[in-house]
Structures are given as structure tokens and as C-alpha cells.
């Protein structure tokens, strides 16, 4: 976009970049805020349909489209209560900490080739790391609320999220290993083409680890059946028991933001990102580099593809939530430590051996002399830009 502004519109460079940055930030913010509205509406509709109800029907026309907006307005107008014994500063700060963490992770999430807030060569890592920060808001909320139920919720969330980061990290490492890069764009591009190129179907180990990832992702964003931090039948509402109004809605936006994020991450890591099951763009002759407009169109298509996959993931989470009972905290921890972690570790090892043993695998430093790798690295074909660098490494590795 910046190049377009500079070259076609004639903006000075600084202005072009500023405008680009602002637009990107606003877009991401809107994806979270707007996405949360849509997803809340969807959740209500889906829950209603699962339960033989209709859900919202009136607000904003036939399907209650504007129900969540109306709710949002109600929340803004609602009195913002704070318990007497609460730690005021932390209590006020906590929702924003949660929301910011969820928001920040979107910076590195690519929506299509080059449709990314900031392309980081450690993108996967960044997303997972920042997502883990959301727990701080929850802990602070639980502590600052001066309510025992909130504290219970916060402690559960802390224990749960920190534990689930271990298997989640292991699951995420597998596609990284297959792609030979931690750059989300590179990982997605490696899966371009037909559905068989998806890492989900790369080998049996990745197929299994995808489901481990799904479990851990659901747990790490606190959705049923792992929603212990806000278990309403046990802890009233868990960490946000004492919250009301706009601050409470920030927690909600953070929750839906993270749900979308982990789904999008799953799509990028395992399901080809913006590369669909069928390479439509390539089949009809629209591929990268056939001109600016066509290129742009392809990317828009890719973005729709990714958004579709991520939304599907979110919908599955909703489906699960309205179907399954909730686990107990010790069972949640058992699931993590006794099942998810060992399975993830075993699948990781399996995928590694698969790469090593079978032709076409990547085994850096083992199959080639170190000097050769270094030479390849230094004299990569694609010039000296960062993106080209990573592809150079990927290219030089067998």
C-alpha cells in the first residue's frame, strides 16, 4: 500500500508509511472489535439453533443483525461498578491488558501474502508469545476484584494457560520445522497449491498434532470445555464476576479476538493459510506477478479464504461449547500434562524423523557440510532483503 501511495498518488515517503500504519492499525482494531460483534451475534444464533431456539430476531431486521451492536451500546451506557475493596488502578487496567495482548498478536498475523501488519521472521513465536500475555489481564482482574470467586478464576486461568503453552508451543514448532521458517507468510506459502500440500495432510504425525493443537488452542483461549476461569456454575463468572459495562466487554472482545487468532493461526500453520483446498487463482491463470490489479485481486481472494477458515474454526469452538460439559480443573491439567504434552512431544519427534528419513525432508546441518550451508546462506539468490534471505535459506536446504 505504501508503495502504491508513493508511486501512484505521489505522497512523500513518510506520509505514505504513516497512512499505511494508521490504516493497518485501524483495520486490525476493527477486525477485533467488529469481529467480536459478528462472532457474538453468531454465537447467539448458533447457540440458539443448537438449542432449538431462534436467538435474536428483531434488532436490526430479520435476523437480529444489530443485536450485538445494541448490546454494545447498552454496555457503554451501563454503570461501571467497582467493588469497594478493589485495587482501583489494577481493576481498571486489567481489561485493557487482556485486550492489548489479543490486539498485539494480530500485528504479525498475515491475512494474505503481504497483507500483514508487520512481517516478522519470528511471526509464529511472536503470536504465541503475545497471546500468552492475555493471562496477565485475567490474573490482575482476579486479584484486583477483591472477590474470592474472581481469584479462583484467575488462579485457574493462570495455571491452565501456562501449562497449555507447553504443548501448544510443541504443536506450533512442527509446521515451523516443516517449512524451515518461523515466518508465517513463508509457512503459508509453502503450502500453496492443492489441499494435499497442507501440512495437515503432510504426514500422519502432523495430522495428529493438528488435533492436539486444536485442543490446546481451545484450552489456551478458555473456551468450553476448558472454560474453567469463568465457569458459571462453579465460580459465578470467574475472573470477570465483578466487571460490568464497557470494561467487561473488553474482556469479551479479547476472548473473541483470541479465538479468531488461534483459529487463523491454525489455518496458516496447518491448513494452507490463504491457499485454498483448490488453487483457484492458479487454475484460472491469475497468479502472483501478472499485474498489480490481478495481484491485488488474488490477495483479496486469499484473505477471504483465510478468513473463511478462521471463522470455521471459531464456529467449531462455538459448536463444542454448546455441546460438551465442562471439565474439572484437575482433569484439565491431566489432559494437558498427561495427554497433550506427551502426544505433542511424540508427534514432534515423529514428524522430525519423517523429515529426516524420507526423501524431500529437511534436515539442516546433518545432510550437508556446514560450510556449504553457510555459503548458500551468504550468497542466496534473492538479493539481500530479509524476505529473500529466509527463502534463500529454505532454498539452500535440501
Amino acid at each position: 500500500m505504501a508503495e502504491f501511495l508513493i508511486n501512484s498518488v505521489g505522497f512523500p515517503e513518510w506520509l505514505a508509511w504513516t497512512v499505511t500504519a494508521v490504516v493497518a492499525a485501524v483495520l486490525i482494531l476493527n477486525v477485533i472489535a467488529g469481529g467480536a460483534l459478528v462472532f457474538i451475534w453468531a454465537e447467539r444464533k448458533i447457540a440458539a439453533r443448537i438449542q432449538d431456539r431462534l436467538g435474536p430476531t428483531r434488532t436490526g431486521g430479520r435476523f437480529g443483525w444489530l443485536q450485538s451492536l445494541a448490546d454494545g451500546i447498552k454496555l457503554i451506557a451501563k454503570e461501571d461498578l467497582m467493588p469497594e475493596g478493589a485495587d482501583g488502578m489494577l481493576f481498571r487496567l486489567a481489561p485493557y491488558v487482556s485486550f492489548c495482548a489479543s490486539f498485539c498478536a494480530f500485528i504479525a498475523l498475515p491475512f494474505a501474502f503481504d497483507f500483514v501488519g508487520q512481517r516478522l521472521n519470528v511471526g509464529v513465536f511472536f503470536v504465541v508469545a503475545v497471546l500468552g500475555l492475555e493471562v496477565f489481564g485475567v490474573i490482575l482482574a482476579g486479584y484486583a476484584s477483591a472477590s474470592k470467586w474472581s481469584l479462583f478464576g484467575a488462579m485457574r486461568e493462570a495455571a491452565q494457560v501456562v501449562s497449555y503453552e507447553v504443548p501448544l508451543g510443541m504443536c506450533v514448532v512442527v509446521p515451523v520445522m516443516l517449512a524451515g521458517s518461523m515466518d508465517l507468510v513463508t509457512i503459508a506459502e509453502k503450502q500453496a497449491g492443492w489441499v494435499t500440500n497442507w501440512y495437515l495432510f503432510h504426514d500422519p504425525f502432523t495430522f495428529v498434532i493438528f488435533w492436539v493443537y486444536v485442543t490446546c488452542a481451545v484450552a489456551s483461549v478458555n473456551r468450553a470445555p476448558f472454560d474453567l476461569a469463568e465457569a458459571e456454575s462453579e465460580l459465578v463468572a470467574g475472573f470477570h464476576t465483578e466487571y460490568s459495562g464497557l470494561r467487561w466487554s473488553y474482556f469479551f472482545m479479547a476472548e473473541y479476538g483470541s479465538m479468531f487468532l488461534v483459529s487463523a493461526l491454525a489455518a496458516v500453520l496447518f491448513m494452507g493459510g490463504w491457499n485454498g483446498p483448490i488453487p483457484v487463482a492458479r487454475l484460472v491463470g491469475l497468479s502472483e506477478g501478472t499485474g498489480d490489479t490481478a495481484n491485488y485481486f488474488v490477495r483479496l481472494l486469499g484473505m477471504a479464504n483465510l478468513l473463511g477458515k478462521a471463522t470455521l474454526g471459531v464456529l467449531v469452538m462455538m459448536w463444542v461449547r454448546w455441546t460438551l460439559p465442562r471439565l474439572r480443573i484437575d482433569q484439565v491439567m491431566t489432559t494437558c500434562l498427561k495427554y497433550c504434552t506427551p502426544i505433542a512431544a511424540a508427534m514432534f519427534a515423529g514428524a522430525m524423523l519423517w523429515q529426516l528419513m524420507l526423501p524431500g525432508g529437511v534436515a539442516p546441518g546433518l545432510s550437508r557440510p556446514a560450510g556449504e550451508i553457510r555459503e548458500g546462506w551468504l550468497e542466496g539468490p534473492g538479493g539481500r532483503s530479509a524476505a529473500a534471505r529466509s527463502s534463500a535459506v529454505a532454498g539452500v536446504l535440501p
Binding site: D52, K148, P225, S233, P325, L327, R328
Partner: protein
């Protein structure tokens, strides 16, 4: 600071923590009304639970000393308001026992029909609310969907949807409207396959089993000693059902009806229907068995309703009028326990010969069933408390009266 280790079984290695007193209720989503549980917890582990009741106390017994026996019927509605028909029946039978009154054959079968439908409705709520306690919302609404249909039938029969006052002293307030039986049978036919869905969603669900199997195990002796009754007692393997074992005036109502008490005998449940197998983790007397007994009783009640429909329609002649509102009751006292959905509902009536009872007493099953909760919850996790209390299927209206 030194700690004396006396029994290796009760020594745990953990971080030093402090006990915390937590109020669960009276405004809490999972306490089935206005029950207040004071939990003494150590982290997630509950060391002591103390139920505080009385938030719904409406002095029903005192009111009963100022009304005639039939006038008190609406107050029985408000005891177990989820099975008001069965409450009406219990009181009506207790008064009839003291008066040595026998209702007509047609009224008898109609009473069975209504009472068993009431049992289905109550168990549906119990089942759905239990799902809610365990964090799954949908079965609750599935249960309510079917209960609504029963309430529609009740509404047609007596005009009310919650507090019916339909069964009354000396019979029932009115006969069924025309076509009612057909609609009732249609409901049963439609409802029967749905039970499989409930089993799929809850009974056999892996997470549900994990949450309920081997949780809150109540031994047979504990259940009996606390005077537990109904599915709570049968869930512990005690073969007792007042419809079969009760007093003559009550069991006579079920004379000729074929039903098998839903209790685990010799390691298995009655096998007159397709039931899911008992999971390996489940222990007799745990939450799962209490829940399962309720599910079995729904099927059993459907059978009974079908039988009663046949018998009722075979009865010729009038239903018979109920007793006068201010009918004098002979002096004396009588106590009768009936098998309400939640357990044995006992009514005790002392009369001095006038129309107004001298003393009225309602012995509710939930009262005794809840009294065990502290025993069951000792040492469980916080998440188990709703699971255990929910499996007792209490109704506060009945406990506090």
C-alpha cells in the same frame, strides 16, 4: 514450624496455603434457588461444606393450621414446585388416609397418569439442570422443550402450568378434556426416541462421566441413616420405592400396574429397555448412578402413563366429585409417605375433629437429601460441589417449605 505426621494417607506435599471461607449462594448460578453453601476451602479443595437453608421459608405448616385440608392444597403446590402434582397427591392421600376415604377407580387411574407425567416433568428439569451444573447448557433447553409439552397437557387438564392444585382431597378437580389422552399418547410417542439423545449428550458423554463417576459416593448405609429417599437412595443401590413398598392406601393406587423399581440389582439395572451400559468408572452411589436412576425412571414413568391411559379409558362411570372444601376430618393423626419424583414426600396430619387440621407437617425428601451434602462434599474439589448438590436434585421450596 513443625508439622506432626501421624497418618501417611492424609499427608500431602504442597505449598503452605490458608483456608478460605467462601459463600456459594444464596445468589449463585448453581445452587438451585436460594441455597447458601458455606465452603471452607483450601485452594480448590473443599474441606467442609455447610448448607444454610431457610431463605424460602414461607411457614406453610403454620398456614396449614389455619386452613381446611382442601384449602391447603395450593400450598403443597409450592413445595416441590417442579412436581406440584405429586405434592397434591401426597397431601390428598394423607387426608384420605385419615378419613378412610377411597376415590373412584377412574380417579385412581387418572391420579396415576397425572402423577407419573409429573414425575417425567420433574426428572426432565433435574436432568437438564444437572447438565447446567456441569457446564453444558443445551440439554437443559432440550429438557425444557419436552417439559413444556407436559405442561401444555397439564394446562389443558387444569388450567395451570406450575401450581396445579389438580389432584385434591377426594379425587381431582375436573375430568380430562376430550382428546387429551390422544395428545398425551402422541407426546409419549414423540418423546420416547428423544431419550436416546439425552443419553448421548449426558449419560454416556465422556466428560460427563468423568465429572460424575466416582464423585460424591454415598454408601448404602449413609443414605439410609440420613433418611435419603427417591433416586438418591436408589442410586446407592437400596431397593426401595414407596409405590411398591409404601402403605396400603398408596400402593393400592398402583395395584395391577407392572413396573420394576429402577435400582441396580446384582450389578445391573432392570433390562426392560435399551439403556446405555454403566461406565467402568462409575461406583454404586456416585453422582452418575443417581442421575442414571432418574433417567430410568423417566422411561418407567412413560410405561406407567401408557398403562394408566388404557386403564383410565377402560373405566366407565363418573370420576366422582372431590370432598367439600370444609369437610370435617375425624379426630386422630395420620402420616403417609408417597413416592414423589425427588423422593419420599411425607405428610403428617393431626386433626381434632374439626375441618381445620390441628397440626400439619410436611416431611420433604429434599430436606433429608440435602442434609447428606456435607458428608459427600468433604474433601472434594470446588467443581464437584455443584456436581454433588446437583445430583441430589433438590428443590428449595420443598426444603424450606
Amino acid at each position: 514450624m513443625s508439622h506432626v505426621a501421624d497418618d501417611p494417607r492424609i499427608i500431602e506435599f504442597d505449598v503452605r496455603t490458608d483456608e478460605m471461607l467462601v459463600n456459594m449462594g444464596p445468589q449463585h448460578p448453581s445452587t438451585h434457588g436460594v441455597l447458601r453453601l458455606v465452603l471452607r476451602t483450601d485452594g480448590e479443595v473443599v474441606s467442609e461444606v455447610e448448607p444454610h437453608i431457610g431463605y424460602l421459608h414461607r411457614c406453610a405448616e403454620k398456614i396449614g393450621e389455619n386452613l381446611t385440608a382442601r384449602q391447603w392444597i395450593p400450598y403443597t403446590d409450592r413445595m416441590d414446585y417442579l412436581a406440584a402434582m405429586n405434592m397434591n397427591l401426597g397431601w390428598a392421600l394423607a387426608v384420605e388416609k385419615l378419613m378412610k376415604y377411597q376415590v373412584s377407580e377412574k380417579a385412581r387411574h387418572l391420579r396415576v397418569l397425572i402423577a407419573e407425567l409429573g414425575r417425567i416433568a420433574s426428572h426432565l428439569v433435574g436432568m437438564g439442570a444437572y447438565g447446567l451444573d456441569l457446564g453444558t447448557f443445551s440439554p437443559f433447553l432440550y429438557a425444557f422443550r419436552e417439559r413444556e409439552k407436559i405442561l401444555d397437557l397439564f394446562e389443558e387438564a387444569c388450567g395451570a402450568r406450575l401450581t396445579y392444585s389438580y389432584i385434591t382431597v377426594g379425587g381431582l378437580t375436573a375430568d380430562l378434556p376430550p382428546g387429551w389422552l390422544g395428545r398425551c399418547e402422541a407426546f409419549l410417542d414423540q418423546f420416547e426416541p428423544i431419550i436416546k439423545e439425552y443419553h448421548a449428550l449426558l449419560t454416556t458423554n465422556a466428560i460427563f462421566v468423568k465429572r460424575t463417576a466416582n464423585i460424591g459416593v454415598m454408601s448404602r448405609d449413609l443414605a439410609i441413616e440420613y433418611g435419603c429417599s427417591g433416586p438418591v437412595l436408589r442410586g446407592s443401590g437400596v431397593d426401595q420405592d414407596m409405590r411398591r413398598d409404601g402403605e396400603a392406601i398408596y400402593t393400592a393406587m398402583y395395584d395391577g400396574y407392572a413396573f420394576e423399581v429402577a435400582v441396580m440389582k446384582d450389578g445391573h439395572y432392570p433390562r426392560d429397555h435399551e439403556y446405555p451400559p454403566v461406565p467402568a468408572d462409575a461406583v454404586l452411589g456416585d453422582c452418575w448412578h443417581r442421575f442414571f436412576v432418574r433417567m430410568l425412571e423417566v422411561v418407567q414413568s412413560m410405561d406407567l402413563v401408557r398403562q394408566s391411559i388404557d386403564r383410565y379409558s377402560a373405566c366407565k362411570g363418573p370420576l366422582g366429585e372431590p370432598l367439600k372444601l370444609a369437610e370435617k376430618i375425624p379426630a386422630g393423626d395420620a402420616y403417609l409417605e408417597t413416592e414423589a419424583p425427588k423422593g419420599q414426600m411425607g405428610f403428617y396430619l393431626v386433626s381434632d375433629g374439626s375441618a381445620i387440621p390441628w397440626r400439619v407437617r410436611a416431611r420433604s425428601s429434599s430436606f433429608s437429601n440435602l442434609a447428606v451434602a456435607p458428608e459427600l462434599c468433604r474433601g472434594c474439589l470446588i467443581a464437584d460441589v455443584p456436581a454433588i448438590v446437583g445430583s441430589l436434585d433438590i428443590v428449595m421450596g420443598e426444603i424450606d417449605r
